[in-house]
């Protein structure tokens, strides 16, 4: 076996050294009848060539941006990633290292995280950011837990515009705790209706998504005011992190916690993961923050260096009193995103966000002028919006026939909207593809 170096001769020498005569005896601590008396019932091993053939065949049975124009978003965004990101991320010094517990030989990972923390602070308008959560959904749930710890309250007001999967995860996370979840409804234009009704003195936090699940750009300041008026925290969740380059950072608008999903920053869609939850907050909530943090320090010779810090918040020190149970996080995705952000930088990220906006505005204009289609919501949007169609299934089938992944059927998520699709347009879709989509959704002859 090419992954295991031992030769028969070496095995024998090692057995001798440990005073055993055969491999079986290594497991003497396991009573014979607790052992598996047969080989595992798995298919026999295949060679690398055969494996590659099998996996290529499986992969070929999935649509992808290689084969289709993708208008799906809803928390996972098809963006172009420069080749540099994978080339650097693939360096095995990054890939095959683990958590940087030993800073003297982990400065590469540590400095990267410190850079990430800095950029996330800039993007969100917060003071401190951690070094990754599993995904946007669990980050939002952890934000609620954090607010509950900070306020010692247990009611969580969730805007209905929070991604339905995130709402599900929140519910799952809060289930074992004595917490109450209240939903704040959407107004007709797609934005969250004023929150005064739901938020009260028992409220630990409000969770608002920006732009929300239906693409609407929310009024974060109003939500922040409603929350802080009752001493509650406002957590803003962002699923399309690219919007942070264009929209006023939630931290500046009064959000206490800004969290979400940073997959848009160069992390492959990869059927939904691994992605990259992020979380940032104000300085005064620092000790409540879950997850890893990297801080600057000096070595014995006074040279600047980085270390994991404030570990007393974490499970490996605090055990059941930790701010979270997270341990293994999304390190390599954080590296991808950091590289992506460095490449795009101050100007590129903004320019890309504007291009996304322009694509969506173009698409909306085409929808608006098509008699068979409608734009049911009036709220401003970024790169995602709702399209009313006569018949969702037929529309998607026509799109599929033209190799378009035509948007998300909203029926399971927002049945009140009537037949409608959530459509996302990033820089990856050309004007021509947008035109084909509009035609397909409308059933126009092409």
């Amino acid at each position: 076996m090419r992954y295991i170096p031992h030769t028969e001769n070496e095995i024998q020498r090692m057995l001798d050294a440990v005073g055993l005569s055969q491999l079986d005896e290594l497991f003497d601590a396991i009573p014979q009848k607790q052992r598996l008396a047969r080989p595992l019932d798995l298919r026999r091993a295949v060679s690398e060539q055969e494996l590659w053939g099998e996996l290529k065949t499986l992969a070929a049975r999935n649509a992808s941006t290689e084969t289709h124009d993708c208008f799906l978003g809803a928390g996972v965004y098809p963006h172009f990633t420069p080749a540099v990101v994978d080339a650097l991320t693939s360096r095995s010094e990054f890939t095959t290292a683990y958590t940087p517990y030993q800073p003297e030989i982990s400065q590469g990972t540590l400095q990267t995280i410190f850079e990430w923390q800095t950029m996330i602070c800039g993007l969100t308008g917060c003071d401190v950011a951690n070094a990754s959560m599993y995904d946007g959904a669990s980050a939002s749930a952890e934000a609620a837990l954090m607010a509950m710890r900070a306020t010692r309250r247990s009611k969580v007001v969730v805007a209905a515009g929070l991604h339905p999967h995130y709402r599900d995860v929140l519910r799952t996370y809060l289930n074992g705790l004595r917490a109450e979840i209240v939903e704040a409804p959407l107004a007709d234009d797609g934005r969250t209706a004023p929150l005064a009704e739901q938020v009260d003195g028992a409220t630990a936090c409000v969770i608002l998504q920006q732009p929300n699940f239906l693409g609407a750009i929310e009024d974060v300041r109003a939500a922040a005011e409603a929350a802080s008026a009752c001493g509650a925290k406002l957590a803003v969740t962002v699923t399309e992190a690219l919007s942070l380059a264009l929209l006023t950072p939630p931290g500046e608008l009064g959000a206490d916690i800004v969290c979400g999903e940073a997959q848009s920053f160069g992390v492959p869609m990869s059927l939904g993961g691994p992605h990259l939850g992020f979380m940032a907050t104000r300085q005064k909530l620092l000790r409540q923050l879950p997850g890893r943090l990297v801080g600057e320090t000096v070595d014995t010779e006074g040279r600047r260096g980085y270390v994991l810090t404030l570990a007393t918040r974490e499970q490996h020190i605090r055990r059941e009193k930790a701010t979270s149970n997270i341990c293994t996080n999304q390190g390599l995705c954080l590296l991808m995103a950091t590289i992506y952000l460095c490449l795009h930088g101050r100007r590129g990220l903004r320019a890309l966000a504007e291009l996304n906006l322009a694509k969506a505005e173009y698409a909306k204009a085409r929808v608006r002028e098509n008699p068979a289609l409608s734009l049911p919501l009036e709220a401003p949007t970024f790169n995602e919006f709702v399209v009313g169609v006569p018949d969702v299934a037929a529309a998607l089938e026509r799109a599929r026939a033209d190799r378009l992944l035509g948007g998300l059927d909203l029926a399971p998520y927002a049945p009140d909207l009537g037949p409608a699709l959530l459509v996302c347009t990033t820089e990856l879709v050309s004007r021509e593809a947008i035109d084909r989509l509009v035609a397909a959704l409308a059933g126009d002859a092409s």
Binding site: Y3, P5, E93, G108, T118, M119, V128, Y173, E320, C333
Partner: protein, 505 residues
Amino acid sequence: MSDPRARIGNTGTGFSYEEPLVFELSRPGRIGYSLPAYDVPPVDAVQMLPDGSVRDDIEGMPEVSEVDVVRHFTRMSTWNASVDLGLYPLGSCTMKYNPKINERAARLGGFADAHPLQPASEQQGFLELCHRLENELAEICGMDRVTLQPAAGAQGELAGIMMIRAYHEHRGELRSKILVPDSAHGTNPASAALNGYEVVAIPSDEDGILHPEAIEAVMSEDVAGLMITNPSTLGLFEEHVVRICEIVHAKGGLVYGDGANLNALLGIARPGDLGIDVMHINLHKTFSTPHGGGGPGSGPVGVKNVLAPYLPTPVVRELAGAEGAGFVLDYDLPQSIGRLHANFGNAGMFVRAHAYIRSLGPDGLKRCAEMAVLNANYLLARLRTAYHVPFDRAVMHECVLTDRSLQDTGVTTLDVAKRLIDYGYHPPTIYFPLIVHGAIMIEPTESESLDGLDRFADAMLAIAQEAREDADTVRTAPHHTRRSRLDETRAARKPILRWQPAARD
């Protein structure tokens, strides 16, 4: 600073280049990106969007060229230890070799560039892969069903504990406690607490393993379950696991298995056969998905049929009979604990783990366990003369030593770890498990060859000798890295957690 090289910032030895923060490399107007030309009319965001909703500049965001970025991260990479450069015997982490073909497979367009919300008909290859992996893991663990959703071991624990809660609640029982051995990984108590349970710590016995009496003493109808790690974090097989499970079950409790150490058991014994009801599997440990400097991991959870109704949704289901062929995502699990992940979990890791299992097959997996255990025992045999062995028995895939035999020299576990770096090794896990004073927890994994183990053992022995002859060198190690020991106290006292332009001028 007599080294004249300091003046230009390259004070590292050899190719250990110094490298500032990317923000310090930034120059206004420098560019590292290219964007496609507009094929749609440009829009003026400020004009179009509501007042105040468009941001100003992003503070501190760098402006660097592609060349800058490539060099920056290439150089930083050279400051990391990694499995591909050498032994990385971080106990409990199973830092085994990560096959390159698995990386390549996960990058296939049909996996990497596919959207999780595309219709099931457009992701049959992926769903089939999930189905295969679930079955493979179930067989390996002796479990009935598997969910792939948890993003890492700790989230798997959370899912497992939630299922235990749901199970009891479904029976109308409101149990409030979870038993957790004191040798358990920190995630165990944290996961139980995160789910609202009171954590009851179980002390390990003198011989390092759990004894039925200890469980019997605290097991009650108020206990929802026990979390057990087997082999334990001491590298020891919990010989009484079957009896312990019986005790828990007898009082209506369930047993959670922390599968972080599954590598030792592959093809040898199955947690499910030993009485475990629910367990997580760290794909990034046993099944060799790369650790990535901290993640991503993946923490599938296997359950016995009693817990199947509570699995997170969606589950992958193979169509049968009149339904036709293929796979669907099934959301129809009324007693499910719900979703744990925005999508299906860390799907890219499923590809790698499945590839690994296919590459090894039943015989290869068993070989992993055998060689991992042989390696740990061999190291223990070579090191036991120089380092104190707190629990002196045959170990499984890892061994725990301590610094007790060096006590008179003033050299501690930390010093040994740092000095190992000078010898070219990533240190083992240290000071864990917490119950062993000055623990040095070594997990070589099956990837290491005899000669590799011998060199590592030579280094450990040399350090023990240095401790007697030249303790200072050990106590001030490492001496050959880009940075000497870093001041962690200072970092925590007044945390600097981001770069700030102002502070630099």
